[in-house]
């Protein structure tokens, strides 16, 4: 009797495992097929692409690249540099100042401590779009229209990064360390910069990646702030490509531009995916 039941269970288990693999393969296909076509078509020439779909890469990657770089309507190189600059600065501002804020609330028991913590949690989920009107008008009146300041400096107040940092501090930043630094005569900011920051490195790395990526991908605000061609970031270039008369374009260049916007992030992700996936579970406030 018992043997029969066990055998039956094993059969059910095998069946479940089979279904699981099927579903996983299906989802993998769904997630990757678009990127596969993107990769293939970025390496093919315009006439090739027009002829129909192929499963194998072409030989025109170099030609597409040269054409794209010399395309006067699409300042791709400056777009990449601008995106890189804005995203890097945002990542630095967000991680440094949010760690600082988290440390202030975690390590010091001042009177407004709890109020400050609650306040940050309250505003964590408020979308940036709802303040966009006032934000754009304010930036215009301060003379920051068409500048990178409105896209980078506000990252100083990043509630989500703050929340991750304070969670991490609760689990792995013993306050005795600060005590010890004080006894050795360190000032508070010195202790933060020289002792706390290095101890927070793993958390900072994860959040730096997330902030970098979300700034790199950001389209809504930059589109409202940036005007001049030299300052455009990658998402705006893509949007411009979309609103231009589409069929006149060299499709090889179109695919390559999309690839240039996507693949840097993909490569970084593939190198660091273990930490990133762990970071999502740890912070778990990525809406």
């Amino acid at each position: 009797m018992k043997d029969n039941a066990a055998r039956e269970n094993l059969g059910v288990l095998r069946l479940r495992r089979g279904i699981a693999y099927l579903v996983l393969l299906f989802l993998t296909f769904l997630s990757l097929f678009a990127f596969y076509i993107l990769f293939i078509n970025a390496t093919r020439s315009h006439p090739d692409i027009q002829k129909g779909f192929s499963f194998f890469p072409g030989a025109s990657l170099g030609a597409n690249f040269t054409n794209l770089m010399h395309n006067a309507n699409l300042p791709v190189l400056s777009g990449l540099m601008n995106s890189l600059l804005v995203a890097s600065l945002s990542a630095v501002f967000a991680t440094y100042f949010s760690t600082m804020t988290a440390f202030g609330i975690h390590a010091y028991r001042f009177r407004l401590n709890q109020a400050a913590f609650s306040c940050i949690l309250m505003v964590m989920m408020v979308p940036t779009q709802v303040t966009a009107l006032g934000f754009v008008r304010l930036m215009a009146s301060m003379g920051f229209k068409d500048s990178f300041i409105p896209l980078t400096v506000p990252a100083i107040a990043s509630p989500v990064v703050f929340f991750f940092m304070i969670q991490y501090m609760k689990s792995s930043l013993p306050l005795e360390v600060i005590e010890a630094a004080r006894i050795d005569g360190a000032g508070e900011f010195y202790a933060f910069n020289r002792i706390v920051l290095p101890m927070m490195k793993p958390a900072i790395a994860v959040q730096a990646i997330f902030t970098f990526v979300s700034s790199w991908n950001n389209y809504f605000l930059p589109a409202l702030i940036l005007d001049s061609k030299k300052k455009l970031t990658m998402p705006i270039l893509i949007a411009q490509l979309r609103s231009a008369d589409f069929m006149k374009f060299d499709m090889g260049q179109v695919y390559l531009l999309i690839a240039l916007a996507i693949f840097p992030v993909v490569i970084v992700y593939l190198c660091l995916s273990k930490f990133i996936v762990r970071g999502v579970a740890l912070g778990s406030v990525k809406g």
Binding site: M100, V130, F135
Partner: protein, 329 residues
């Protein structure tokens, strides 16, 4: 702990905080506490300048008539709540809110179903899936992709002469299917992209929640002869309910903000016939045409809705994050 609902947050937060404060008291002198203000000052300063002032100014502007007709500016003139009454009476808002809700639901349903399935499978020790690391990496990947580029990619892939149609034609279809000229295929594409971008994230969150459950419960259920589905329904589901609520609400807030994907896919028009125009696309239209009053009214409305949802998230985080953070380590 896991059985408690979100309606009673006071009890747990008041237990939680005095305890941690008591521990702090032992380890530090009184004279240092004022330093906390210096550490949190930059954050609150930046928040006040870049979020609070704009928010107040948005509210303020929503009470004025202020727009452009050609090159002449109308207003600004105080009109009280007139922008709001226009907003609610002309029917556009309801239609766009409906579009947003439909597209969000079309993406969210498969998202939560597949995420639950995957989370259960990945955490099931007896199932012992191989290459779980590879699959986790793949399913999370689309989340990091630039939504604008992803959408542009889908636009090219599903255009009338794009690769998908060329594959369909080679499989024997007679004429290309015009994905972006049909209401439900356009909405479906937006929903598909939202689904692909978020199911990996949700899977990881649910996995963390399931891994936090005491394994003895599952062992006991197995000894009592429960099938996998039974222990999922009777143990897993009730115990991860707080996280499910969290996922639902944050996804709703994300859904309200839906912009990049439909904006790029339909070039801001919400084609066909504005059936895929979302609330934030509507806001964006007003922002670009500098109809300040109406943009303000739409913003305030979105703010109120997301603020209500945020309050729910706030309480769910305060109550539930403590045990979860420990489980994630």
């Amino acid at each position: 702990m896991p059985g408690t609902t979100l309606t009673k947050p006071e009890a747990s937060s008041s237990q939680q905080y005095p305890a941690s404060n008591g521990a702090n008291k032992k380890t530090k002198g009184v004279s240092y506490s004022k330093w906390g203000y210096f550490f949190i000052a930059p954050f609150f300063l930046a928040f006040a300048v870049f979020s609070l002032v704009p928010l107040i100014s948005t509210f303020y502007n929503s009470f004025f008539e202020n727009y452009w007709v050609g090159l002449t500016q109308v207003g600004p003139r105080f009109v009280g709540l007139q922008n709001y009454s226009t907003l609610f009476s002309d029917g556009d808002l309801a239609a766009y809110a409906g579009n947003t809700a439909i597209i969000w639901l079309m993406g969210f349903l498969p998202q939560i179903i597949f995420s639950l399935l995957l989370a259960v499978w990945f955490t099931d020790l007896r199932l012992h899936l191989r290459a779980a690391g590879f699959f986790k990496t793949v399913i999370y990947l689309p989340n990091l992709i630039m939504a604008a580029a992803f959408s542009m990619l889908f636009f090219t892939l599903f255009s009338d002469s794009g690769p998908v149609n060329s594959i369909l034609l080679s499989m024997g279809m007679e004429s290309p299917y015009r994905f972006l000229a049909n209401v439900w295929s356009t909405r479906g594409l937006v929903a598909l992209m939202n689904f692909l971008m978020w199911y990996g994230n949700t899977t990881i969150l649910l996995m963390a929640a399931i891994l936090g459950i005491d394994t003895a419960l599952f062992e006991a259920a197995e000894i009592d002869g429960a099938t996998a589905f039974e222990s999922f329904r009777k143990i897993t589901l009730p115990l991860i309910r707080p996280i499910l609520v969290y996922v639902l609400i944050t996804s709703l807030i994300g859904g309200i903000q839906m912009f990049d994907v439909p904006q790029i896919l339909t070039n801001g028009n919400g084609n066909p016939n504005r059936t895929s125009l979302t609330l934030v696309m509507y806001l964006n239209k007003h922002l670009f045409s500098e109809n300040v009053g109406m943009a303000g009214a739409v913003s305030v409305l979105l703010f109120v809705v997301s603020a209500v949802l945020s309050v729910i998230v706030y309480f769910s985080i305060r109550e539930k994050k403590q045990p979860k953070g420990g489980a994630g380590k």
